[in-house]
Symmetry: C2
């Protein structure tokens, strides 16, 4: 590629400042809010007083959050940006600026790092967000990408995770379990030939789409009481929402929007698609609770106005004492234990 790295050039060859020059070329810095972008130790940007500033950070550690053979570097950059976009989206924020801390072995090719930053740039671009600065450091044996994303929201356009109240309905966008299915394909655990299923599942895992427009529209309704993104798995994140809000939840398993590629992949390896959808993680959909008194229709209209994403009402917020319970299609009801497993002898408040 013209101006890019040669295939054999490593970070050790170009050094820290050579690398920064390469990265700088990828971010021409045309955003009017950016006063000083990449190149100094400090980035300078212009905020406005109508908005609050939102700050989030999330890292991708090789061997923990990703395996190099399961992702290419562009994918890794896309993911590193998207997990942060998703956190911001779940609060109703608009992304603006990212600073990136790159920690990498000296033998990593420069081309890999350029691809990584291109992936970040591509994930940020739809929102006119961009990388404005950061830091590069040598890591002896592992690639780590730590992104801090800054964004903004109007003071009345922010939703946190702690506002759910008994009686709220619980809604989730999109479908679940697709990223988990993609991970199985990426790890080579799925035998058989189903190229379309493989392609869809891999896309869910490698290039998740953060629900930025949806999160902002939902928050702006004023009817969403608590929201977060599904990164740890539906049940894990529902538990975070319930703990922060001091409530419990009742989930109808039959209403869980299991991704078609999750269903097909799970069945082909003898796994339970519903279990993947409930616990798989990394789907980066939005999970939120809505005031049942008049709020649901308004919220759904607002969502439909900005997005064609599907959504599902999957249950209700209940008092804290009931814990988190799932009603399965066969009528059995199970409680989530503190460790995240099932308590088959869980409390049955309605019996």
């Amino acid at each position: 590629m013209p101006g890019g790295a040669t295939p054999t050039e490593t970070l050790g060859d170009v050094g820290e400042f050579g690398l920064i020059q390469r990265i700088r070329r990828l971010f021409p810095g045309t955003e009017p809010t950016v006063v000083h972008g990449i190149g100094d130790d400090v980035a300078v940007v212009r905020t406005d007083s109508d908005h609050l500033l939102l700050v989030t950070c999330d890292c991708q550690i090789e061997g923990v959050h990703f395996l190099r053979h399961a992702l290419n570097f562009w994918d890794l950059g896309w993911r590193a940006a998207s997990v942060n976009l998703s956190d911001l989206a779940a609060m109703g924020g608009e992304p603006l600026w990212a600073v990136v801390s790159l920690m990498a072995p000296a033998e990593l090719p420069v081309k890999a790092v350029e691809d990584l930053y291109r992936g970040m740039a591509d994930a940020l671009r739809p929102w006119q967000a961009t990388v404005v600065g950061g830091n590069t450091a040598r890591h002896p044996d592992r690639l780590v990408v730590d992104v801090t994303l800054l964004g903004r929201a109007r003071p009345d356009g922010i939703v946190t995770r702690d506002g759910a109240r008994p009686g709220d309905v619980i809604v989730v966008t999109g479908t679940l379990g697709g990223a988990r299915a993609g991970l199985e394909w990426a790890r080579g655990r799925v035998a058989g030939d189903a190229p379309e299923v493989r392609k869809q599942a891999m896309a869910r895992y490698r290039t998740p789409r953060a629900r930025v427009a949806e999160g902002k529209a939902l928050a702006a309704t004023g009817r969403v009481r608590a929201m977060l993104d599904v990164s740890d798995g539906l049940l894990g994140d529902l538990r975070h929402l319930c703990q922060a809000s001091g409530v419990g939840a009742l989930v109808e398993a039959a209403c869980i929007p299991v991704d078609p590629c999750c269903r097909q992949t799970a069945l082909s390896v003898g796994a339970d698609p519903l279990e993947w959808a409930l616990r798989g993680g990394e789907d980066y959909e939005l999970l939120f609770s809505v005031d049942r008194q008049g709020g649901v229709g308004q919220v759904m209209e607002a969502l439909g106005a900005v997005s064609d994403v599907a959504f599902a009402v999957i249950g209700w917020i209940v008092p804290r004492e009931a814990g988190i319970q799932v009603v399965f299609p066969d009528g059995t009801r199970r409680s989530l234990t503190a460790e995240g497993g099932w308590d088959h002898f869980g409390s049955r408040p309605d019996k």
Copy 2:
């Protein structure tokens, strides 16, 4: 300590959310600008329209930036915050909020992490800055602390590294080489008994003081043309300033403020104190250039009004073609090579 961790409890024992609760206790969140602090995925803060927003990040990687036996965890927290405070100071910024990405092995004691965050809190507190959020993740085998620091400056109170012009004088605050001496002591390389020297040197290495008040006062004069902090060593950072500004520099070695503990430690191990002062790094002093026409007195007065730190005029900015040259006390003049070594046959424009 009441409310703190027991000595044996590890991160694996308390889990991510248990750990976040512990960290949250250390930051009561009384700063009026903090709308939502630690506990959600996203922190929310209030900016004002009179100021620009400054963003910087810098990480501490075990085995690269620190060795566990050479620092305690409080020191590590202090350093992780201070290296960022120093970057912000060098631009004239006021620190406000930090987000911290902690990557740590599961077997790390919770008490160590609490000490680390206490060190950060103590380094930030003099500026009413605080940790407002972040992320924790498992790192398989290494402790990594990545801090993103946000701050502010008035649009006319920002100094970058690229404004130096031939004729400017070059000034450095404080003394140099002390951190390098402390590193030698920390690594057990210094024999002999000099407890006061050891103590001073170790303090320079373990608990550097970022020149925040000084940086802001210097930037506010409007007479400082380029500034950065001495993190990579005087010559390394002078080169960054010269490259960014498109200029060269002439340094009088006799004017370099060699730290007394550097001098004594270096002599005791048979090293050259001047070499440590020129290349040692991690002193976190400010290096800046000042318009010689009437600016110097005003800048020095501004510095003296906020700080009793010493400063030294160490040389002059010259045209780019001259490169970076050092005149040694014996009259020899050496040029810095592109690799950072000495070219004994360097250009001699005045001969």
